[in-house]
Amino acid sequence: MTKLTHLTIAEARDGLAKGAFTAVELASAHVDAMARARGLNAYITETPELALEQAKQSDLRIQAGTGGALEGIPLAIKDLFCTEGVRTTAASHILDGFTPPYESTVSGKLKAAGAVCLGKTNLDEFAMGSSNLTSYHGAVVNPWQRTGSDAKLVPGGSSGGSAAAVAGRIALGATGTDTGGSIRQPAALCGIVGIKPTYGRCSRWGIVAFASSLDQAGPMTRTVRDAAIMLESMCGHDAKDSTSAPMPVPNFEAALTGDIRGLKVGIPKEYRPDGMSDEINAVWDQGIEWLKAAGATPVEISLPHTKYALPTYYIIAPAEASSNLARYDGVRFGLRVPGKTLDELYAKTRAAGFGAEVRRRILIGTYVLSAGYYDAYYDKARRVRTLIARDFENAFKTVDVILTPTAPSPAFAPGEKGDDPVAMYLEDVFTVPTSLAGLPGLSLPAGLNAQGLPLGLQLIGRPFDEATVLRVAEVMEQAADFKALPSGLEG
């Protein structure tokens, strides 16, 4: 029998239902694996007692026939979701000692569906980063390594801990959040599936905010089917989030029909910038071939404002962040560094509590909102954002889904991108436009590069059409037949 930690969510669900193993056995296997895989630093907080207790309850419900959609499934929760009674850090020093007295809507829904919480996964501080190097709780190690090398690589970010945990077989699935690519890029770098649903699909209530107009929760799993199963339990309208969409939740798993005949797939010409590596181009072309073989039609499209997406994003996201992070002031919760005056308390607390990347973005955000600069930066960025969204609207008049690479490069080692933050920001070049347009985007593993590292492809859908994205993704997944295991996998 396959090791319990190597099962997919769908397999584990069926095994639990059949009584092939118990939820406690499944949770124990993961608790043991987590202990062995601490080298990955995927978790900031492990909750083994909670997991085993929840698993015990799950077994009772399974026996009683009252189990939920995710009954007994061990999941990891990105440490950006507030979890009642479990400390929540956002990977920042400034939230020291913060244990929320409430549960985020999304993690609460997973709990209500019967999921077992293994712990809180590591991330870039306040979800700001593409490498997981900015975490106050240390870098996360990608379970994948280059062939013949034991150099540690980054898992991507910001949901790097979640991606590493799922790829490293220490969670069957994990929640992520995606503001500019934070689910899709680490999924690509760790060889797993990650979907950022349409903005408004999942409630943001109880998720530590980074950039409110962009933040979306989504699942990170090892298969497309698992992503469909998890997403269905995570999403739905929430009156506590005014930006949550009052839309019915489709049966995403049922959308996986395997039939994409006649679908038109957009291939945006702007996503082949000069200097993009041949291996990324090659895997993209391969993806197009798989779709053709399955009966879909590739159509070249143009998204003319793509080149403005990254600068637009790096105005809007820091602007919102500078305001969202104002509440971390040392007055009511988290870290406090005393000062002789209130201003000194603020300055000392925030200087000590925020890391360099977070401080950089707060400064950028404060600057672009300042009197005299607002029109030139923030307001202009808002208008460009509208143009970017219109590009997609126009494209979706002729195509059903869009295929692009997820990230411009595979996993890299810390320091390889140099000290220039802009080089790191370029990691999000293919994911950011989707975020600005609020569209659903999914990354799936499409193959390995010459060095044995996974490469991801991104599928982008119409608003609230995650079903089509998942359906196409599953067909590609079948074609890719991605069975490779991370080289750095423990035991």
Binding site: C82, A90, R204, S212, S323, V331, F333, A371
Partner: protein, 485 residues
């Protein structure tokens, strides 16, 4: 008469605009379900949203929106069917989120107006620039501990309407009339209780001066947090004088925010323009634009009560009251209702005189309020009926009224118990007259030789003889006849 300040170089006029923060009457806060009641234990009415906890999100309270629309309609203002909430960013210990959710470029209410009733009977129209919804901050207490400040977040997140006037006022008196009238309208609408002592209505005044005849708008100073009409008027007067003195000494006014020291009766600088916060307003991404259904606005419009201006016009037209009396009676809705109960089916002028005269005086002396009046409207009406049907005279009625205040009894009962029913029996009055005339033969002959003034003496004597109960009109008639004999 225009209000003018005489300076050494000439006459000056004041230009005043007011920003009023009016706390919305609602059970819960603008963006959270926490209660809004005043005066409870510190930090007992605080949700995680109000305390700015991580991941918490605002959800607009529909009641507060309706109240803002109702107020806008009451101010005859344009209702903006789409408005946008923006964040006003600044750091302070009693501002948990690090920003206040307010409205900036697109407020919920646009241009409107308020008509001021001046004591001399004239009226002035003051423009309303806008009304927007925003959250209140918490309260900092710096006097509870030698080295620490305490924070009470009960008020954090409570809905305020910021109502901004145009710079249309020209005297402290007009500013006072504006605040009074605004308060009256808000109370009629039931959208703000107007209680300045509890801080549910606070006022900032923008003041500048200019030479009489000039139409320029000179640099203004904003005086913050004036919590009574009297202080506001003092602050404006002081500030105007300060500006004039500076101009006349050849100086210039720096735009700044000032505070009023009510103890010293003066304003002092709080922060200069250079020190002014850059609030970095931007649309709040946690909230969608607020889009109103026109049908909802019309429903509210249809449910508006009769407002002070309309009521005043009706009182003048229907009851033939003077604009002044009508203005006094409509200032508070409950007073107007009291008056109308008294006046219904009776002589309105007489009802108005009783309400604004003896009744208001009794309110003052008894220390009671119109909500719990010393004399009910029904009883006051009953008293007027007793005058109308000649049961008692107006003079006796005054005595009866005093007894009504003291005992709370109905006027008819008091008249019976005290035997105050007036004498309308001709023979009884005739007998009293005969007696008086017989006792004062010299006065009678003086009267007859042309000393007309003595008529009043005879009337007084007859009234005295009948303990004031004789019907004065009958006394007059009968006395005239007798003296003519």
């Amino acid at each position: 008469m225009a209000y003018v300040i005489q300076g050494e170089t000439g006459d000056w006029e004041i230009v005043i605009g007011l920003e009023v923060h009016a706390q919305v009457i609602s059970q819960s806060k603008l963006f959270s379900g926490a209660a809004t009641e005043f005066g409870n234990e510190p930090n007992s009415q605080v949700s995680f949203v109000d305390a700015g906890f991580p991941g918490m999100l605002p959800v607009i309270n529909a009641v507060c929106v309706e109240q803002a629309v109702r107020t806008g309609l009451g101010l005859k203002a344009a209702i903006n069917l789409t408005s946008v909430f923006a964040r006003k960013n600044y750091f302070y210990a009693d501002l948990p989120q690090g920003y206040q959710i307010s409205q900036y470029e697109l407020p919920i209410v646009g241009n409107g107006e308020i008509i001021l009733d001046m004591p001399d009977g004239s009226s002035r129209t003051v423009g309303i620039e806008r009304l927007h919804l925003e959250q209140d901050a918490g309260k900092s207490m710096h006097d509870q501990h030698p080295s620490k400040s305490y924070i009470d977040l009960n008020r954090s997140g409570v809905a305020l309407m910021e109502i901004v006037s145009k710079p249309d006022m020209r005297s402290p008196e007009e500013a006072g009339a504006y605040l009074g009238k605004l308060r009256s309208i808000l109370r009629y609408l039931g959208t703000c209780d107007g209680n300045m002592q509890e801080g549910s209505m606070r006022c900032d005044a923008n003041v500048s001066v200019r030479p009489v005849g000039s139409t320029e708008l000179r640099t203004r100073c904003e005086i913050k947090n004036l919590n009574s009409i009297r202080f506001m008027q003092q602050a404006i007067e002081f500030e105007a004088r300060r500006h004039i003195d500076i101009y006349e000494a050849g100086g210039t006014i720096a735009q700044e925010t000032r505070l009023f020291d009510s103890g010293k009766g003066e304003t002092r600088s709080m922060r200069s323009k250079e020190q002014a916060h850059d609030y970095r307003y931007f649309p709040d991404p946690d909230l969608l634009p607020l889009v109103l259904d026109p049908a909802m606005v019309e429903t509210i419009r249809a449910s508006l009560p009769e407002l002070p201006d309309e009521k005043k016009a009706r009182f003048v037209a229907d009851y033939s009251l003077s604009p002044y009396d009508a203005g006094v009676l409509v200032a508070e809705r409950i007073t107007a209702d009291f008056f109308e109960t008294v006046a219904r089916g009776r002589d309105a002028k007489q009802a108005a005189n009783w309400v604004t005269g003896d009744f208001f005086a009794a309110l003052k002396t008894s220390g009671r309020t119109i909500e719990d009046p010393p004399v009910s409207a029904a009883n006051l009406g009953g008293l007027i009926d007793l005058i109308a049907d000649n049961t008692i005279s107006g003079r006796i009625a005054k005595e009866v009224f005093v007894l009504m205040v003291e005992t709370g009894k109905a006027p008819a009962l008091i008249v019976e118990e005290q035997g105050l029913r007036q004498v309308t029996d001709t023979s009884a009055i005739d007998a009293a007259i005969a007696d008086i005339l017989a006792k004062n033969p010299d006065k009678v002959s003086e009267f007859k030789s042309g000393k007309d003034k003595l008529f009043g003496f005879f009337v007084g004597q007859v009234m005295k003889a009948t303990q004031g109960k004789a019907n004065p009109a009958m006394v007059n008639d009968l006395l005239k006849k007798k003296l003519a004999e």
